[in-house]
């Protein structure tokens, strides 16, 4: 190779790599921009809500009941209590049902059978059904006959539970599938039964994943307004429900809706403050999910 040829070759190499660098830079910028869209929107929203509602936020706001007459003495106690009760009851419903469904589909269902395939397709479809439709379902079957629970926390929790159940099932199935088959085989080869293997190996191994999925499902349920409206939950109440099966109840999204649609701008400010309360609960829940994942996640 002559000196000139070597020079050309080097030039070609350098040109190519510079072009590559530019492409790389553009690509990175595009990725950052996409990230920025989400981040900036969220940031603007947070700042806006904090500016609007931050000043109204106080311990009194959380402990007072909402008032129709005086915005300054109005609070969100019944909404916070209602939301927390809803979440706990929903969790009690979705954890056993969702996990049991996931175990059936992963461990027992024979995919060659048409009914198992039908179940799978249906779960995927259910995840895409609009939440208001679940509200109608809840109203027709849970609030009224055959369950006839009335508009109580349990009815709301079952409705929200049905709504997020597909999410729990999908996440739990993934968590169960992530337990390597070598662990199952090892357990079965020692003479453990199928059920012992599920109970003592597969479930403990997939628990962090399942817990994360449940919390993420609940953080979707916590913001749902439409289904609760449809089943007839109150926009605000001046009392807390005594238990989950008897009293009328409200929840944060409903009270927020009530506040922000009020003609009085003072109530609208309270709406912003209530949004901050809801966001705070959400952040705590998601932080819990992250903690669980990092603390107990199993590396195989």
């Amino acid at each position: 190779m002559s000196v000139a040829e070597a020079g050309i070759a080097r030039l070609a190499v350098e040109r190519a790599s510079r072009g590559q660098q530019v492409k790389d830079l553009i690509f990175r910028a595009a990725l950052l921009l996409s990230l920025g869209v989400g981040f900036i929107t969220l940031g603007v929203l947070l700042v806006d809500v904090t500016l609007d509602g931050g000043s109204s936020l106080s311990w009194d706001f959380i402990t007072n009941f909402p008032s129709r007459i005086s915005p300054e003495r109005s609070g969100v106690q019944s909404a916070v209590v209602g939301t927390l009760l809803l979440m706990v009851t929903t969790a009690l419903f979705i954890v056993p049902v969702g996990v049991a469904t996931a175990i059936y589909l992963e461990e027992y269902a024979d995919r060659d059978r048409w009914w198992n395939r039908l179940i799978e397709v249906n779960i995927q479809n259910l995840a895409a059904v609009p939440s208001v439709v679940y509200g109608l379902l809840g109203l027709a079957f849970i609030v009224r006959a055959p369950l006839s629970l009335g508009t109580v926390v349990l009815a709301g929790a079952l409705t929200l539970g049905l709504l997020v159940l597909p999410v729990v099932i999908v996440v739990a199935r993934e968590a169960i599938r992530a337990v390597p088959s070598s662990i199952r085989e090892g357990s079965l080869a020692l003479g453990a039964t199928h059920w012992q293997t599920i109970w003592k190996q597969t479930l403990p191994g997939s628990l962090p994943g399942i817990a994360t999925g449940v919390i993420l499902a609940l953080s979707r349920a916590i913001g749902e307004t439409a289904p609760l409206l449809v089943i007839g939950a109150a926009l605000f109440t001046r009392f807390n429900p005594n238990d989950v099966t008897s009293d009328q109840f409200t929840a944060l999204p409903l009270t927020i809706l009530r506040f922000v649609t009020d003609a009085d701008s003072e109530y609208q400010t309270l709406g912003a403050a209530a949004i901050l309360v809801l966001l705070a609960i959400l952040v705590v829940m998601n932080a819990g999910a992250v903690y669980l994942r990092n603390r107990y996640e199993q590396k195989w």
Partner: protein, 305 residues
């Protein structure tokens, strides 16, 4: 060479193990014979079959993976299954403790007798089978638990009575692992080296007091030193257990096994599927030094495969 072949390797090994055990062969030779007979291994070289395979075949979704396997597996012997990839060795070994049941598409034909009983009889519970016939897998698969809990898992699920600490210690001693781990029984098994993990898996299988241990390429993921340890362990375990091992390592088969079955892959009649078959089953010594089939010879001498 000829002398070598005619000598019964069985007898030779017993002499060796007798010396290792420190049993003086001059004194009370009767006792020794009795002990051997009690283990079903007569000094005359007559062996007691533990498995009888009669025309065993396995098909996955109608496609045969291995077929017409016809040989006995003897008690207190190490039986090696060797052959090229895809010849059905692993498939066959999984028939012996009904692990193939876990694959819905797998179908076992023929007869697998275990102590004269049909292993696939309609009244046989696969869970009971696996209790008696333990298995060690290709890749060490410790549970994500402490070393102690790994060993205790089997006895616990089987509801074994007795002092769990003793059961764990005894299993770890038999697995030649006790001295290395006795001070860290409560630490996670994932912190052990690959070789230790595999010995843990062997000890775990021993904890339930099985009769047979099946090993599916137990050393393929291990370095030579760990492999050597496991081979030593297998030779020790042969005293009390029957071992069947699938291996790709021919030196390993030659070093540890008493009996060797050589498998090969054949195209079936309509030349559609590749199916494994047994070419030769004999004393390891004979298979490696004077095989009766030229395909075996080509394989063990490294000409093919």
């Amino acid at each position: 060479m000829q002398e070598h072949v005619t000598q019964d390797p069985e007898e030779r090994q017993q002499e060796t193990s007798g010396r290792v055990d420190g049993v003086p062969s001059t004194r009370e030779g009767q006792v020794q014979t009795q002990a051997l007979e009690a283990k079903g291994q007569k000094a005359t070289g007559e062996r007691k079959p533990i498995f009888g395979l009669e025309k065993v075949g396995v098909a996955y979704g109608g496609v045969p993976a291995v077929r017409e396997v016809d040989f006995p597996i003897y008690q207190h012997q190490i039986t090696a299954l060797i052959g090229p990839s895809g010849c059905g060795k692993s498939t066959l070994i999984r028939c012996l403790n009904r692990m193939n049941d876990l694959i819905p598409a797998a179908k076992v034909t023929g007869k697998v007798n275990y102590h004269g009983e049909d292993l696939y009889g309609s009244d046989v519970d696969p869970v009971q089978v696996r209790k008696r016939i333990g298995m060690v897998f290709q890749k060490p698969n410790p549970f994500p638990k402490s070393i102690y809990d790994n060993i205790a898992f089997g006895p616990r699920v089987l509801g074994q009575k007795g002092d769990m600490d003793e059961i764990v210690e005894s299993a770890l001693r038999r697995g030649a692992l006790w001295d290395e781990v006795k001070d860290r029984l409560k630490t996670n098994a994932f912190g052990m080296s690959g070789g230790q993990q595999q010995r843990l898996c062997i000890a775990r299988a021993l904890a339930t007091d099985p009769d047979v241990i099946l090993m599916d390429e137990p050393c393929s993921a291990l370095d030579p030193i760990s492999t050597g340890r496991i081979e030593d362990l297998m030779l020790e375990l042969r005293e009390n257990y029957s071992i069947v091992i699938v291996t790709h390592n021919m030196q390993q088969a030659a070093r540890v096994s008493n009996m060797t079955a050589f498998f090969t892959v054949e195209l079936d009649e309509d030349e559609k599927h590749r199916t494994g078959r047994v070419v030769e089953y004999d004393d390891t010594e004979k298979v490696f030094t004077n095989p009766s089939d030229e395909r075996t010879e080509a394989y063990v001498t490294g000409k093919v495969g």
